[in-house]
Symmetry: C2
Subunit: 244 residues, 2 copies
């Protein structure tokens, strides 16, 4: 079998298949369909499982997307996501896309030990939990959960359904400006909870940004956790030396 030039000695076959595919799809437009798994297995004289492993890596790398029953397609390019303290709405606008959000679920529940610690509350204190799906140009790019103290923001879960921007809502309706924050960045494979609304495979790597935001008095007012499609979003941060 000759694929993508002679393979290096001892290269796994699935990796050879992957290189072959990468070379092929790099000249295709996003949205183009790729040969089916069974076709590739026949063409490349290998098993469907081996082809699937190569495809799975390309999906994880953000190069391909798969849709069950439909086919495999070349993926769309990524959105650059700046890490600075602005609302989702502002950030999507700054990227040149149209922001929107869909409230998936809201709850009022007791904080519990962990949330209480991070929000400066007692474990019995009530908090709002808000789950939203975030869009750029009607394309889902992130699933987000955030928690805020219920007593400080009464009626928040009703209001949020009418407002596009949480940060704007806190400022306008509750007189609370978010001034400082801290964010943690990790990767995690999408569970069904994120995969389904995002339209990605379970297990697809996501960029998970956890944040703790403070008001101008340094009081924590919001916890958040956002799962970004890592195939559609690149995080970017601007830095200045701390020496000065």
């Amino acid at each position: 079998m000759t694929i993508a030039g002679d393979p290096p000695v001892q290269e796994p076959k699935y990796y050879t298949v992957k290189r072959h595919l990468l070379e092929f799809i790099s000249s295709l437009e996003p949205g183009s369909s790729v040969a089916t798994e069974r076709e590739l297995a026949t063409e490349l004289q290998t098993s469907r499982t081996t082809v699937r492993q190569a495809l799975t890596e390309l999906v994880e790398e953000g190069r391909l997307v798969r849709r069950q029953g439909s086919g495999t397609y070349v993926a769309e390019p990524k959105i650059t996501w700046p890490l600075y303290l602005a609302s989702f709405t502002e950030q999507v606008q700054a990227s040149g896309f149209e922001p929107s959000a869909q409230v998936l679920d809201t709850q009022r529940l007791a904080a519990g030990t962990e949330l209480a610690k991070q929000l400066g509350l007692t474990p019995r204190a009530p908090v709002y939990k808000i789950e939203r799906l975030r869009f750029a140009d009607a394309f889902p790019i992130a699933v987000e959960t955030c928690w805020l103290p219920a007593e400080r923001f009464p009626g928040l879960t009703r209001q949020i359904r009418r407002h596009g921007s949480l940060h704007a809502l806190l400022a306008d309706e509750y007189g609370t400006a978010i001034q400082m924050g801290e964010e943690w960045i990790e990767t995690a494979p999408a569970t069904p909870r994120e995969a389904r609304p995002l339209g990605v495979d379970v297990g697809t790597p996501t960029l998970v940004v956890s944040r703790q935001n403070f008001d101008s008095d340094g009081i924590p007012v919001e916890l958040g956790r956002t799962w970004f499609r890592s195939d559609r979003v690149t995080l970017v941060t601007h830095l200045r030396s701390r020496r000065r």
Copy 2:
């Protein structure tokens, strides 16, 4: 088969296996060994491939590590990696670990179109390319490549082998303080080039931080790209509102 309580209706079997394992390993110490794939397949009355899929996801999630020929083990907890403009050395020290680095390769080559554009050079201008493996407490956590203008930093590839910190070296020997930077954050599965020195599986998701650093005159002096083990490192950033 009864695993981890009754599974939800229509849950894939590999996912049931995964939940079972998660429950089990959450009470184990890092470094503990987990039952072998073949044992799990027999215990859970499933195929080894199904067990492998569950394990693969837990590895990607940073919960487990596998070593060919040896076994599967509970993973060590992650290092928090602050995103601010400091050298690797400073950042590892700030996390309470002992930093060290191993130079893997150095080259002097023509910049080419892409590097030239980002470094403000002509494509023919020479640059140094330096590849290093970075350690925290003798544990490899990142593979790094950086490019710097050769004419501005003559002899850099010789000097870097004697210095632990590139940023300190630029400041002390070349009078260049890095004052500003921009970083992009993505995920990518590890290729053999990163996987091998990092001791992870090919395909394991990594956190890739690309950066462009500037001196106090705003001249780009360094490009860098660092592949972090996403199972060992969590990125963190401190934010301030841009409204003020």
